[in-house]
């Protein structure tokens, strides 16, 4: 291992974990959005979803490369993306649930990109300079994702009877998963203390201030919070994750180390 002179102490496990979470969120949502390629309801949205998937996969490459370096076990972006087992992925459960329809995909993109924008805004000032650089780049992209999905949430929610019903069903389904975004945990505490990034719970009020007015303009009813909890960011995933990984990892599992 090459000694890093700029860092007196090796990166903490929590630091690696935190960067992994960011990388896995981008990777898994990127994978889900790429499933739309060639299948979206209209050509313009097919292009938009593919472009957002590309942005996310690009971000995940930077983040997983960085996580691999911090970890110091010599794993590159491909090994991180394709050769870990399910329990080692740190993405939110929300990003791994199936696309279902354009409504659910749109509502998820909206809830998630609003969170991404707030998170990247904070991470621009990270004490981890590489993470700060990735944040500054990703923030610009996330703002476009947010604008795009917010417009569609309003158009669908405040649209026809059918589009309203499907968008409301999407919100009812996804809202409970959003609680996981803000759940307190020791990783966040350690990372926040080291000024690497915010504890995600700190972003909850700003996130609500961002999403609630749009949902209201979309004439959607926000469900009440329930005790429902998910734990994807701690590595405990839903039944959908294994299927997603089987598709995503197939090539590298069949031909380990293959390049093209």
């Amino acid at each position: 291992m090459v000694a890093d002179m700029t860092q007196a102490t090796p990166p903490s496990l929590e630091h690696v974990e935190y960067v992994l979470r960011l990388g896995d969120n981008a990777l898994i949502l990127g994978q889900r959005l790429s499933e739309w390629c060639g299948r979206a309801p209209v050509l313009e949205e097919d292009l938009a979803l593919a472009n957002m998937a590309l942005d996310l996969i690009g971000q995940s490459r930077l983040l997983l490369t960085h996580a691999g370096r911090l970890e110091g076990k010599g794993r590159d972006e491909d090994q991180m993306a394709f050769l870990r087992v399910e329990r080692d992925y740190r993405n939110l459960t929300m990003v791994e649930v199936p696309n279902e329809d354009f409504g659910r995909t749109t509502v998820r993109n909206f809830l998630f990109s609003a969170f991404q924008v707030l998170l990247w805004e904070k991470l621009v000032a990270s004490s981890d300079s590489e993470l700060a650089a990735i944040a500054a780049k990703s923030l610009k992209e996330a703002r476009y994702h947010l604008n795009h999905s917010a417009e569609w949430v309003i158009r669908l929610g405040d649209g026809t009877e059918v589009s309203h019903a499907r968008t409301q069903a999407a919100l009812d389904y996804l809202w409970p998963y959003s609680a996981e975004l803000f759940a307190a945990n020791p990783t966040d505490d350690a990372v926040s203390a080291a000024a690497i990034g915010p504890a995600w719970g700190e972003l909850e009020a700003a996130w609500e201030a961002m999403v609630l007015p749009v949902l209201s303009e979309a004439t959607l009813v926000v469900p009440a919070r329930t005790p429902f909890k998910t734990f994807g960011k701690f590595g405990r995933h839903s039944e959908h994750m294994g299927h997603l990984l089987a598709t995503m990892q197939y090539m590298q599992r069949t031909y380990p180390g293959a390049t093209w």
């Binding site: 313009e44 292009l47 942005d55 930077l62 500054a136 604008n147």
Partner: protein, 163 residues
């Protein structure tokens, strides 16, 4: 070996594969050139994180410089500061327009929240000049462009987004 200014001139002939009307230099993605005794180091910044053209651009840079006798060409990626469409110069903006892509208007947004609303931006059609245009999608054939339609001449066109 090449001098730095020779290398800049050569790179100014390398087109962006997605938007061939402008060169990689005009696009502002070449951040620095460093001449070494045995070759040259080219510092490149990506436009978008997932831009599929990044690798093709790297190959084109290598080929062009190597063919001109630059010796060993090394590529270095620099993320900070992140690329902004503000780095596209005036001359290049006119080339984009002539090519049928409306160049980014104004300066890229820095900081602050964007208004989450149907942002109506009156763009002039690059073909007929009419301002009676509408946005079809925030995204186009690539992430860097949005798709518009001119309601006068009925032709679609692309808009290079400020970022």
């Amino acid at each position: 070996m090449l001098t730095e200014s020779e290398a800049w001139k050569l790179l100014d002939t390398v087109p962006d594969p997605e938007v061939p009307a402008v060169s990689v230099v005009e696009l502002g993605i070449i951040r620095e050139l460093r001449c070494r005794d045995d070759g040259i180091t080219v510092v490149v910044t990506p436009t978008y994180s997932g831009c599929p053209a990044t690798e093709v651009i790297g190959l084109a840079i290598r080929d062009t410089l190597a063919a001109a006798g630059a010796g060993r060409v090394e590529l270095e990626t620099r993320l900070d500061p992140p690329w902004t469409s503000d780095w596209i110069g005036e001359a290049a903006r006119e080339k984009l327009r002539a090519y049928g892509i409306v160049p980014p208007t104004g300066r890229a947004a820095v900081g602050g929240a964007q208004p989450i609303r149907f942002v109506k931006q009156a763009l002039s059609c690059p073909r007929c000049g009419s301002r009676d245009t509408e946005r079809l999608s925030e995204f186009g054939s690539t992430a860097c462009k949005a798709t518009y339609r001119c309601k006068s001449c009925l032709e679609p066109f692309e808009y290079f987004k400020p970022i």
